[in-house]
Symmetry: D2
Subunit: 337 residues, 4 copies
């Protein structure tokens, strides 16, 4: 299981405040982690759902893979759009296969960079895709970032059929060999050929539904061809164009729980050093220069909560969309395929 973290808001955030400083920040989520206690409250036992291998649970420990297989970061600065005098707000991307805690470039970058939209991802590779930078998430398509926690079952069996569904542009935008990047190419094929202008959320949602349908169909056909039982896929995706964000918490089989995915619309000030409180707890001193109520509207979507305040975090229900529009309002919708 990988893990990812996404921030979008009208309040710029210092990358260090969300990615490095918290005791349970994503770059420290290499093994045992902050207890995903809300996950239990949601209670898979009650719903009698099973966990597929590697999925967070309090019973088996939250993660039995070690996330040391590459870190990736995407964020928007708006600088290129200003210098190019267009409105094409493409992301800056940083990827490395070294453990992120040892990466002095990453640490310096995070200490000196703020953004209103950030994607971060830490990978636990399956043995199918090698550990090289081009396989690290998030992936860039025009102004979009795309990342994933989970895996597409039997990906190599459906890869050729999937590739044949891709538009020329999407196909040529693939630089690595992961299932995720190919799924992203399929999503951007369904989204159309213009990845630089802003599109309505409805378009993103429709493209994602078609993408999920295609993947499930391809897997079914492949299992049928090979006379195998249908395998399970975990498909927690996130995609953004800098001003809106769509994510999914999705398991291809109803009897399995997908990996955890939380959101928060209130944790921002706790992360941000300008405001009171600290992600590791109230007792950690912090000199606030602004009042909490002055913090801008924002949403965080993440595999695991990384502040101590559990009441700030909501578990997204299984097989649901979380849709965050330009107004930064959150809509949770059942995924209906």
């Amino acid at each position: 299981m990988c893990r990812w973290f996404a921030y979008i808001g009208e309040e710029p955030i210092l990358l260090e405040d969300i990615l490095i400083k918290p005791k349970h920040s994503i770059i420290k989520q290499i093994d045992v982690h902050f207890l995903p206690y809300l996950h239990v409250i949601y209670d898979p036992h009650l719903y009698r759902k099973k966990f597929s291998s590697g999925v967070a649970s309090d019973e088996h420990g939250p993660n039995h893979f070690t996330n040391v297989d590459g870190f990736g970061l995407g964020y928007y600065t708006g600088v290129a759009a200003e210098f190019n005098n267009d409105n094409i707000n493409r992301p800056c991307v940083y990827k490395n296969v070294r453990p992120p805690l040892n990466d002095l470039n990453l640490i310096s970058l995070c200490a000196h960079t703020s953004s209103k939209c950030v994607f971060a991802h830490i990978r636990a590779a399956t043995r199918l895709s090698p550990i090289v930078e081009t396989n690290n998430h998030p992936f860039v398509f025009g102004r979009y970032l795309f990342m994933h926690n989970g895996s597409v079952a039997n990906f190599l069996n459906i890869k050729i059929a999937l590739v044949q569904k891709l538009s020329e542009n999407a196909y040529r935008n693939i630089f690595g060999t992961t299932d995720t990047e190919h799924v992203a190419a399929l999503f951007f094929t369904h989204l159309g050929n213009d990845w630089d202008t802003e599109l309505p959320m409805e378009n993103l949602k429709n493209a994602m539904i078609k993408t999920l349908q295609d993947i499930l169909t391809l897997i079914q056909e492949s299992a049928k061809d090979m006379d195998e039982t249908l395998p399970q896929s975990n498909l927690n995706f996130a995609v953004t164009d800098s001003c809106q964000l769509l994510a999914t918490r999705f398991s291809s089989m109803d009897e399995f729980e997908p990996p955890s995915l939380y959101y928060s619309t209130t944790a921002g000030p706790t992360f941000n050093r300008k405001f009171p409180d600290h992600p590791d707890g109230k007792e950690v001193g912090k000199e606030a220069t602004q009042a909490t109520h002055n913090h801008g509207k924002h949403v965080i979507v993440a595999s695991e909560p990384s502040t101590y305040k559990t009441k700030d975090w909501y578990l997204i229900p299984s097989n649901s969309f979380i849709l965050i529009g330009k107004d930064l309002n959150v809509v949770i919708e059942k995924i209906d395929l």
Copy 2:
């Protein structure tokens, strides 16, 4: 011979415009380069100066080392100072031992980052210091960046004596093994213990003079102890605190020409995509959105010119300071030890 490039100005510059785009930008200066033709005009032959090994000249080719031994970049964003609500404007630093042209992180970072003060350096290592990131320039001391083209002769012979001259703070700020980082620590020892508040240029100049004197004395004593002839050192240093910049073009022996070092107070618009003209020549189309005269005051100091307009570049005389104050005025002064 290494090479370095420094920009300071009131006009923010897109890193891509100075470091990546020009045909002769520093990351492309790995072997044969833009002809340092002004260097010839200055005419070492006339002054009968010799070139030490590796120094640029039109006679032997501008550079007989290959600069593939590590790239480093330092730039100021002001973001940390804003979030910390102090005035401590420390630099962001990025270093890598991969060839910079292949470094997708660097290329993305430069495409999405602008700054008013940038240091960049490409290394041709002597065999004494290994090729690891901690040996890449520029080096950070508090709010300062420090870099070097050249080498301190017989550095290992004087290292212990040099280290004993260092303040506790400067000593503990050394993370690699290069001559340059040790010289920097000596400079910051002479500068005093506060590396976070702005100091008058006079302090920087005095610290540099003491540093040069110390190095020359240490080398002389070592040569005497070992009964060797005095070796030659090339000491083209640059130091900045984000709002002023001091650099040296210095050879320890008068009969040798130091490596080339140029400055320009007018090349900025040619680099900057917002303004007319292009570093590779007028014929390269560029859609300017602003008039040249609107470009802010700025100074570039660099081992080699990297725009086609030779009249924009001045060779700094041997054994001189270039001092760029907060007003961005340029003063050239003979170094008088």
Copy 3:
């Protein structure tokens, strides 16, 4: 243009002696090189052939790309076969994207390892395949190594059609995104499903002929579909199973000269420190412990000669096979498609 070097013989060679020590060894072939003077004698002018971009020639300089895009090394030790008590002699492979001259691991490995069969490759990437280790040559398929100098024209246009020709095993053995690794998978599809037992040279030759035919057909069909003029491909391949070696010097269009490719059956002792003479010239002192005539039979095939003795090197004619059997005899054959 990339470059490659292959050694096969009954005399083990210290890797340092072929890859590191010579002034013109492959790891030093990053830009201007040892004059491929035999190439001129062969005289493209006489035959009025053209050079495609990047091909060695004395007229335009031997190489106008800079080979800093990744080094790869494959060699056979026989150790695994001994410990596993089978006869499956698979290769050890080392790949890195750092400049090889700076790579202390590579330098140490070469100083302490000998082998009877070695493949080495230095890459000048086209912009289509990213610079990651999985894209470095040579590629491993069972007991085989495969490498390439040149490029498959319009590879992205034919990739899907090519992939559909692959056997399941060959397809699953692809870990990167280069044209070469896909061509290799096609070759090993034609070779059959057993890549661990030794096969007759005839099988290798037939598989290579089918591979070349397939590639040319795919390119023709793609050009026709897209209504484009037929592009030129350079296909200098090498493949070995540790005891025999097949290589091609091939241009897809007769009017173009393929990249240079030489062989030698006598240069071994000059490389080997146990024997008299030195790759950089007679004047370089070397204490031989054995007489030249005691050196075992061997063949070297390489993009460029890397000893000073031009009479030891033969340019392989355009569009030819070089076939080196278990008896280490050399056969040059016209490639007849």
Copy 4:
């Protein structure tokens, strides 16, 4: 706490069999590990010794650092000595800052290389020394390898005084910035100036005693100068010249237990695929081709046992030498300073 593993024997071992294959091999010891159950039997509680931070114990979990800060491997092939026709058997060294489990070069190297003497080390860096290859253990001095688990207390305070004790040769053989490499240089200063010919074990022991005395004295003097209480150092060192091996399990303060260190003279066949049994347990099938009693004499010294057979492993008492001579006999001696 780091961890290290050493093998010396007359039976060559495939690197994969000791470093990669076992479930608890050193490259998998990044966090929670094989229970060091003998450690408990030795019973720190009985002796009422304390554990310093990071030391293995069953009470607090075996290791609360994560060992992802660089892997190093040294082994002897004898190849260079054969080609150079001297008897100078220097080691081959491989170091990387990537997680070793992701390192395809390391995995291939281990699959195809055997040796009679191997040192391997995995690092959990203190924040004082950066994570760069030159700081990875083991360190090479002539024909010797040197590695360390633990740390020298207040190293930066004693570094200059330590450096002044070094011979010119030892000083010039330092390429990184760790405490360990400096201690090694002190050891090789005491050993004398010839690091290429074999020396009696007595010389190694005396050099180590002087080194430990020097370190303790330097730390005492520094603590006194600074009016600080004496800090504790863990000094589990290992050194070899390929044919003999000396290691220490040492804590500078008697009331603290040093990190665990085990040895085995019988575990070799269990690791080695040629012989019956498997490091992960009898139930793991393995086709032996040789009988256990045919395995050559050997000794393993390691921070943690990595086979399931606890009776094969002995905990070395605190503050002791383990001395393994050319006859491969083991002598345990109290360290008497």
